[in-house]
Amino acid sequence: MFKRLSKIIGLRKKENSSSNTAMAADKKQPMVEGIPTDINDLKARVRREFDRCEDIVIRTLEIGQDNFIEMLVVYFDGLVNKDTLNAHVLRPLLIDARIVPLDKSVNKRTIVNIIERNLLDNCEILELTDFNQCVQNILSGNTVLFTEGSDIALATCTKGFATRSVDKPDTESSVRGSREGFVESFRVNTSLLRRRIRTSSLKIEEMTIGQQTNTKVGIAYVEGIVNKRIVDEVISRLSKIKIDGVLGSGTLEELIQDAPLSLMPTVANSEKPDKVAGKLLEGRVAIITDGSPFVLTVPCLFIEAFQTSEDYYSLPFIASFIRMLRFIAFVISMYGPAFYVAMVGFHQSVVPFKLVVTIAAARQGLPFSPFTEAFIMGLTFELLREAGIRMPKPVGQAVSIVGALVLGEASIRAGITGAPMVIVTAITAICSFILTPYTDLLPFARFALLIAANVLGLIGIALVSAAGLVHLCSLRSFGVPFMAPFAPLNLSGLKDTFIRAPLWTMFTRPKELTGIHPDQNRVRMALEISPEDYDGNE
């Protein structure tokens, strides 16, 4: 069934992509359009390009002392910082240009050259010869200067639009780790990474995706650690995307997934620069999308949901304990209601007698079967959660009051649901929040198991679990088995799974990520450094 579905969708995908490329061929071929040298032609061309874009500013200047040279300054109002523009572009052109001789014969230089080298005191200036590139620059907030009689345009960096400042991440809060989170602007995000990994080996390749949005996408990796084939795969998948818009990293995530129809995500995301930096150092590739505070990292393994950056900042025993708690939480939040239903409906003999008495007493006279009860409660919880997320904060509190008091308390009092079921639902809910990456997909597993438990009891749970496990083992993320290091088993990789071994024991980089090329430097830590060596008895 799955295969057929994916085949259908795959077919459609192919059609889409072929039509997309056709469209792309019409519209945007990398053909170079020269810049008109005649100032009137140029004005007409610029006007035509930005026809009815009423936030465009096209300003004509005349610079020089004696024989004025006409220049065109083009920028978008709102995308540029006007102070920068005034002080570092307009002022030099209009005032300082009177001192600098603009004689063409001097040093055989062109006027553009003089303007670029001698006049503008802005830090970043690009020479452009392609008109389309000029348009791109204007659109991204640069100011483009066209000069009369020259086919070279100058783009000066005057970007200055309203952005959010670096803030605490909402989805992953930390106690001991860095409190910085990614923001929406691309350059700030790359700077957050660059500040943490200060090596020229940190490569950030940039590309533009989205026919209409022209979103900037950066592919970051640490050369020497990363497996080259993964980088190539990421770039090739990204470059195949032909889509109108990329408004968030989620779009990219969906389009480069290994198993698009699977529940499990094979691309991870994070809002924390320190976490992404850690992943880069493990040999992963990060994908930074302009406009999204979530940076994608691939390959994504099953175990990643259980690892938080906090684990590596706290002591190994504490971190290991919390790791194990997370595994327990994962199991509870998947199996909680299903197990309860199986126990109450099928396997009462397994439950201790006194517990049976309690449950039987609580269930006495209830109108619904345990399954229906679990289903209703589970559904209610999902509704409450969704309401709580989307609501503005003050209203969100009202939702939780209604949820906790009215539904929980009243439904027991009224005899609609039993207290044990409410307890099971509540603990399931709490546990599902512990594993944030899987919070959204756990309900699917939970309901599947619930149905199986209602049909076949523990056997049903076992069957569905087996099927799920088979699926997990069949998944791959950018060529890396999703269940690594459990399957295929890598014993040294287990040091960072159920427990978090002391850092000085994990001296090699993850094998499954970095590959096993003999030339690669796999050791991330000096072998002989362990705390025992600092005894002080020299």
């Binding site: 069934m1 099928f346 009462q348 049976v356 008495v357 039987a360 269930r363 006495q364 149905i451 049909v455």
Partner: protein, 390 residues
């Protein structure tokens, strides 16, 4: 997978979802949770089965029990077979029984006398049945009567009865016989079963479990009750069977005979052996017990090693005397092998066993059995010398 099979499979899977009620999905609130079963033989030869059914709403801890009433109710029905009675019980109670949490099975005296082996078939056949349930006999009353008795300690009499058996690990005077073990003992050659029996202290008052006691144990030969032994003899039997966890031996103090001393056995290890010599089987019982002084009324002597020796030998003597009494009783009065010497012969001397297996009990009656008891006192509690009023 071809095109036709897929929809069929899909339909089948979806159909399963609606079949849930037809399989053995029984909601815990819809079944009758049977906590105890009593089986009696009626005068007309039919079998009566009594269920003690839990009423969960009254049994739940934390709820106001006053108005809820009794936490259980008893249903009795009779039939030619236990299954007949079982179906009849479903008919009159309107609920499917759930046998997974039975605490005790009570066998009526009349049934026991006429043979129990053939009536436990139903419990072996039922897959749902809890095989570790305790088995008890009722002496001088029917199982039904006993189940009517209320408990002032527990809200379920069945729990109270089970606790009486479980407390054996502290007293060493009750035989803790799970159902599966009873089946094994009945089936095994060269061993007779002994089951503890509940009886009423007074003839008339049978209304509460307080009035009941496990004072006797019934001896079975070939699945039929032939007589009773008392608690001291049960203690001795448990010594020989190596089932003593803790028990108390009280004797006169060896140095001042009018004062009592209690010695608590904290670990009793017994070994039975049989040896074949000159065509005769001889049984040997070794008992190795670790003990501590539990209570001393005599105030003169502190527990010096030489005094401890004397107490040890006195205690060992008492245990040995009890064991010999029980062995004599089994051989002379009941003439059946309740110790399982036959089993040992079967295991160790199979050639000889073949010649005596048909009338092992007759052979057992004349079998010499030697008893060796060794007691070691390890501790005397917090004091070694009793306090004395001066």
């Amino acid at each position: 997978m071809n095109k036709i099979k897929l929809p069929i499979l899909a339909v089948a899977f979806i159909a399963i979802l609606f079949l849930t009620g037809c399989w053995d999905n029984n909601d815990v609130s819809d079944v009758a949770i049977v906590t105890a079963i009593g089986i009696d033989k009626l005068e007309d030869g039919r079998l009566a089965m009594t269920w003690q059914i839990l009423k969960p709403e009254a049994a739940q801890p934390g709820m106001e029990g006053g108005q809820a009433g009794k936490a259980y109710t008893n249903y009795t029905a009779a039939g030619l077979t236990l299954n007949e009675a079982h179906k009849e019980l479903i008919r009159i109670s309107g609920r499917k029984p759930f046998y997974g949490h039975i605490q005790v099975i009570l066998l009526g005296e009349k049934l026991a006398k006429e043979g129990i082996a053939e009536f436990i078939d139903i419990f072996e056949r039922q897959y749902e049945f809890n095989q570790t349930v305790k088995v008890l006999l009722t002496k001088d009353m029917t199982a039904q009567e006993l189940l009517e008795a209320e408990s002032d300690l527990e809200n379920l009499p069945a729990i109270h009865l089970m606790n009486l058996v479980e407390a054996n690990i502290f007293t060493g005077k009750v035989i803790d016989l799970p159902f599966f073990k009873l089946v094994m003992e009945l089936e095994r050659e060269g061993r007779s079963t002994v089951i503890s029996a509940l009886s009423s202290k007074s003839k008339n008052d049978k209304s509460t479990i307080k009035e009941m006691q496990i004072e006797y144990a019934g001896i079975f030969r070939k699945g039929k009750l032939i007589g009773y032994i008392n608690t001291v003899q049960v203690q001795s039997l448990l010594f020989i069977a190596n089932q003593i966890r803790q028990t108390l031996i009280t004797t006169e103090h060896p140095l001042s005979p009018d004062k009592q001393i209690s010695v608590e056995i904290v670990r009793g290890q017994a070994k039975r052996e049989v040896s074949l010599s000159e065509g005769r089987i001889k049984g040997i019982v070794y008992v190795d017990a670790l003990a501590r002084i539990a209570e001393v009324h005599e105030t003169q002597y502190s527990l010096k090693p030489d005094i401890a020796k004397i107490i040890e030998s006195e205690t060992a003597g008492r245990i040995k005397q009890n064991l010999v009494t029980l062995i004599d009783m089994a051989q002379d009065n009941y003439g059946t092998d309740i110790f399982g010497f036959g089993e040992l012969v079967y295991k160790n001397e199979y050639g000889f066993w073949k010649s005596v297996k048909d009338d092992w009990d007759e052979y057992f009656v004349h079998m010499p059995i030697d008893v060796f008891v060794d007691v070691k006192i390890k501790r005397a509690g917090l004091i070694d010398k009793p306090s004395k009023a001066r």
